[in-house]
Amino acid sequence: MHRPGVGQHALRIACVLACVNCWLLCGCSPTARSPQVAQALRDYELGRFDVAYAALAPLAEKKDENFVLNNARLGSIALADYNLAMAESAFYRAYEVINSVNVNDPGRALAALALSEEAKIWKGEPYERAMVNFYLGIVYYMQKDYQNARAAFENALFKLRDYAEGAKSRDEFQERESDFTIGYLMLAKSWQFLGKPERAKPYFESLARLRPELTQLADEQRHAYSNVLLLVEFGDGPEKILGGDNSVVLIRPTPAEAGPIPRPQVYVDGKAQNLRGLNVPPIDMLELAQQRRWQTFDTIRVMKSVAAMGMLGGAAYSAHRGDDAAAIGLALGALALKATATADTRYWEMIPRTMFIIPLELPPGKHDITVSFGRRYEQTWRDIVAPESGESAYYFRITGTNPGPFTWPPPHLASEQVDGNQRVSRTE
């Protein structure tokens, strides 16, 4: 009777393993970006928001490994379209999962561990998590729900502290706290509108102390008198690409590769405004994302890579000793580990390079406002409302494809009973 040797056993098992592996990877199908998502992103860039919604909304409902990512994407589209109800709902869903633990059930955790990391539920890098919280805060702020805006901005800063907690020295901890400048600024402004300037003051002071070039922006008096706030997004945020042996994630471009951020000019009713230091970029997401403290350490992938290298060494040693079966087994194991150590390159494509936060004090009434980064990158809104009291916040997302002019209120807000961009007040 003929019985197969160990080499043949190894070959058969390797074939079976390869098939199972392929099947599992196909079954999970956690592709970084499906054609549907890619199309939605293109539509978003071109300002075709309705088409982008139609593609992304069903994906954002699906409670899979891309649930948070797709909701973050949907939230970005809705915010750009001033569909604040949808933006709130999408960012809130993402916020809930980001703040949860044990979202990966044991099966999914094992799949992520042994097969592909993209089977893991995406919660984003720390800078992406902070931005989900920040945008949720912006949506509440635009609706003048300052309590929830405050809570969301606090949570964005919690994420910072979360990853800074492991710092060895107090100085390092403080430095880490200072990074997410836009979170501090908006938190301070929220406290101001909640009638607690004493709670706002420390955040304004911290901002001015830690980023002296933002002194003008951190002037609490300027914010107290502002009645129009421009939230101006510009540029493309960080991308994740594969590097090395495909087990390393690189975040590109670097700020040096992308070049300096231009400063905007603001025209109100055709007249250039003297921004006096308000047009300094308060944050550079490319710079932030390059910092290790804003990235997660991908221990699974590193462990798998190291183990694979060890197994390859073992295979060479076994071959040297003449133990072919062990050598083949170890080599196949190493290959399997390397194959499944591919990095997770999913990322939130809509994060901008920066968000300018420009407070203006305008005569009450309607105004035409243009934000310009040069002729190619500008956007105009007509009939922007400057309220007599309080402040209305307006979101400008400037790409080369959406110069406008647009007329306030946008369709989604026009359908609601609005005052500026405010919903009907929630208090008696």
């Binding site: 040797g5 199972v20 599992l24 869903r93 044990n102 990966n104 099966g107 042994a114 979360d162 079966a325």
Partner: protein
């Protein structure tokens, strides 16, 4: 031939290899059956107030408000109390409370009191809800405008929290205060609180 195989299989490297491969195969098949099926939102846990808190908190508050001697005395003296209900005021640290949830906490309390003590409380729709409904349901008779009936009392709730977060865990302590306040003279007729502490511990995959 059998002897040869026996010799080959008895080598320590081959035995280890065989066992590793068999276990890997079992694990992968197991993963195929179990993996990728879990939902992002069904398995997670966080420290936010949830539906369990909503039910236990409002049940507790309904019992306490009905059992309050001060409230009973006011009802005996003035008849039904005309009460307007406000959504929860969010004073929590780093915890968002969307409008729907904020309304649910006081709304459920109102429903419980309406069911169990309909002869003791008259509920007046708050101004926001009235105009919101009027805007949406143009053919629906919403009764008199909010200004036509003056509520005497306001049922309000204020939620505060202390949240601590580090790389290993997130811990939140909640203090939820409910108050029934006389709108005219701002005196407090009744007040009580619900406290809860929640903690979640992060795992390797978090």
């Amino acid at each position: 031939m059998e002897t040869a195989v026996a010799i080959e299989l008895s080598s320590p490297g081959a035995i280890i290899f065989w066992r590793v491969m068999r276990n890997l195969l079992l694990i992968l098949v197991g993963l195929g059956l179990a993996g990728c099926g879990g939902s992002a939102v069904s398995s997670g846990r966080n420290t936010a107030l949830d539906s369990v808190d909503l039910v236990s908190m409002t049940d507790d508050m309904a019992m306490k408000i009905m059992g309050s001697p001060m409230v009973q005395q006011q009802i005996a003296e003035r008849g039904k109390l005309k009460v307007v209900v406000q959504p929860v005021e969010n004073l929590m640290t780093a915890e968002v409370l969307p409008r729907g949830a904020a309304e649910a906490f006081t709304g459920r309390l109102r429903v419980l009191l309406s069911q169990k003590a309909s002869d003791r409380f008259a509920w007046i729709m708050n101004r926001d809800d009235f105009y919101k409904l009027r805007q949406r349901e143009t053919n629906y008779d919403l009764g008199p405008q909010p200004g036509d009936i003056q509520p005497e009392y306001a049922l309000v709730a204020r939620f505060s929290s202390i949240t601590e977060e580090d790389p290993r865990r997130r811990e939140s302590y909640y203090l939820c205060v409910f108050e029934l306040t006389n709108i005219q003279d701002r005196t407090l007729l009744w007040s009580d609180k619900y406290e809860v502490k929640k903690q979640v511990v992060r795992t390797f995959m978090d």
